[in-house]
């Protein structure tokens, strides 16, 4: 049972929840940039949260299923169709053997997750199936997908009564997941900011500035641009560990927000950190999208993280119940 890649899209790779236990060796966490959408997609098809799925960036791939499969698409809003039928997002569906799935351009958001019941069966390397693009290991041959690749799928779990065998082409689940408010795709994203050690004194400019996402952004970092560069207060003297969500300010005054593939240690000033609850929205910011920073307190950040966690748990429980019926 396999998934054939007819066209790879801009950057399509195998990702799961990454390797959060190897940073002492200089190994990035990696995995899905938007872990919320990945986990919802996995829940909808009956997978464990850490199952490997495809992460699709800005322009999607063209894929062929060699066998019947149950799939779900979650994340940014992308054009998606199965033989001419427009496909919904945030909803499980069964596709028949031989179907060709076309994922087009993103209409809003940057990353889409395609989960397949059973998960992608790539070998686990350093506790994860995620592709480490810089290190060239994990996922499918340590690289982004190319035309002609054929990815192994795990044996499907029992498809249940929702998915009668006689169906041809496409069959949709009767239920879907609502990602709001955990993941919303606004025209100008308001992203929380917790103060960092090098946050400049009188930081009003930082919060008054509207930033635009630079096209050089990647899985390591979201690069921001603004009309006026952000001025620095003081420079760190030493490279020190950083975290996913750390906002670094290089000398040119354009902030970089660290994402899943970020290095473990950084030498630039840390002007702030993005609360964990905002990471899924960060992951969905595409080049030329706009964002504004909003001051957050730790208490607010943790409260919002708990809300996100509860939202995800409710969706996972509901999907489990629906699949059991």
């Amino acid at each position: 049972m396999s998934l054939e890649i007819l066209k790879p899209g801009l950057l399509t790779s195998v990702q799961d929840l990454g390797r959060p236990n190897h940073r002492a060796l200089g190994i990035a966490v990696g995995g899905a940039v938007d872990t919320f959408s990945l986990q919802v997609a996995n829940a909808l098809v009956g997978n464990e949260p850490h199952a490997a799925a495809l992460e699709i960036t800005l322009l999607g791939p063209r894929l062929r299923f060699t066998q019947d499969a149950v799939i779900a698409l979650c994340g940014g809003r992308f054009e998606a169709s199965l033989e001419d039928l427009a496909l919904p997002m945030w909803r499980a569906m069964r596709v028949a053997a031989g179907s060709i799935l076309d994922i087009g351009r993103s209409q809003r958001g940057a990353r889409l997750y395609l989960a397949i019941a059973g998960g992608l069966n790539c070998p686990r390397i350093l506790d994860s199936r995620a592709t480490a693009l810089d290190g060239s290991f994990g996922g499918w041959q340590g690289r982004a997908l190319r035309a002609g690749d054929s990815l192994p799928l795990s044996e499907c779990f029992s498809l249940g009564r929702h998915w009668p065998r006689q169906s041809i082409g496409l069959r949709l689940a009767r239920w879907w997941a609502n990602p709001a408010p955990a993941l919303t795709l606004e025209p100008i994203a308001e992203i929380g900011l917790l103060p960092g050690h090098h946050l400049p004194e009188g930081n009003e400019t930082l919060f008054d500035t509207e930033f635009q996402v630079d096209s050089r952004s990647n899985r390591m970092g979201l690069r921001l641009e603004s009309e006026t560069p952000i001025a620095l207060a003081n420079q760190p003297t030493l490279s020190e560990p950083v975290s996913i969500g750390t906002v670094q300010l290089p000398p040119e005054g354009k902030p970089i927000i660290l994402l899943a593939d970020a290095q473990t240690i950084g030498g630039y000033p840390r002007i702030g950190h993005i609360p964990s609850a905002d990471h899924p929205r960060l992951a969905q910011l595409a080049p030329s999208d706009r964002l504004r920073f909003v001051p957050n307190t730790e208490a607010m950040a943790l409260q919002r993280l708990q809300q996100l966690d509860r939202h995800l748990q409710r969706l996972q429980d509901a999907a489990r119940d629906a699949l059991r019926d």
Partner: protein
């Protein structure tokens, strides 16, 4: 030997799910020893919900899951911080200041010999380094391969060692314009630092040699040959001897 530098502990949140324990603000063997000893002791008495303990030159980051710390989320950072403070207050890091050359250190590692082919195609910048430092190429090689280096921290790439111990007379500024591709195994000098690239990547260090050792192999356990606290020595090796040298040191 320098006088003992007294590290002081300050704690800095790195967002809502990591704390940075800062012991000092410069590169100094004592501060690094203290950071490594603290990281080691925290690792020995891990709290539930802690993901990663990452030592650096003079600091240690603790990454944790604020909703999995067995206390209400708003108390998670306080719990991590009091664990760090308590561990620090009981730590006798000075005991680890001067491991005897040749003896195993507290990290139970002997000194790793790292074969290096210096100069030529293996180290295209060695002439520039020699000219900059006002010495012959042979002297650059002799001074670079004399000390026992210690890995202060890993970062930048999987298994990339930031080394302590470079002879100050070898300090050479980075390239004005970084190379777009540096080979895995390249040995370089960047300012007061020296190290080896585990993976091909862009890089701005002056390349003086190349080592066949695989510093990072995701299929191996452990995946990196070195860890923070490891010690190594560069062994000048002729290109024709490199196969046997890499066999012997594997």
């Amino acid at each position: 030997m320098n006088a003992v530098l007294q590290p002081g502990l300050t704690l800095e949140p790195l967002g809502d799910s990591a704390v940075l324990a800062v012991l000092g603000d410069r590169i100094h063997p004592d501060l690094n020893t203290a950071a490594l000893a603290l990281a080691d002791e925290l690792d020995r008495q891990r709290l539930k919900g802690v993901l990663d303990i990452v030592p650096a030159y003079a600091s240690v980051a603790i990454h944790y899951l604020p909703l999995r710390m067995e206390v209400p989320a708003e108390q998670s950072r306080r719990k991590v911080e009091s664990w760090i403070k308590q561990t620090w207050s009981h730590l006798h890091w000075e005991a680890h200041r001067q491991p005897q050359p040749g003896a195993e250190d507290i990290w139970n590692q002997s000194i790793l010999p790292v074969p290096v082919c210096y100069g030529g195609d293996f180290g295209p910048d060695i002439d520039h380094v020699a000219a900059h430092c006002g010495m012959s190429v042979d002297e650059v090689i002799a001074r670079h391969s004399a000390p026992i280096y210690r890995v202060a921290m890993l970062g930048f790439q999987p298994g990339f060692p930031y080394l302590l111990g470079l002879d100050p007379r070898l300090e050479t500024p980075r390239l004005a314009s970084p190379r777009t591709r540096v080979a895995a195994g390249a040995v370089g000098i960047g300012g007061a630092q020296t190290g080896i690239y585990p993976l091909p990547s862009p890089g701005g260090w002056q390349l003086i040699g190349w080592s066949p050792l695989r510093l990072f192999d995701p299929q191996r356990h452990p995946a990196t040959l070195l860890r923070a606290g490891s010690r190594l020595r560069f062994i000048p090796t002729a290109a024709e001897d490199i196969d046997t040298a890499s066999q012997a040191s594997r």
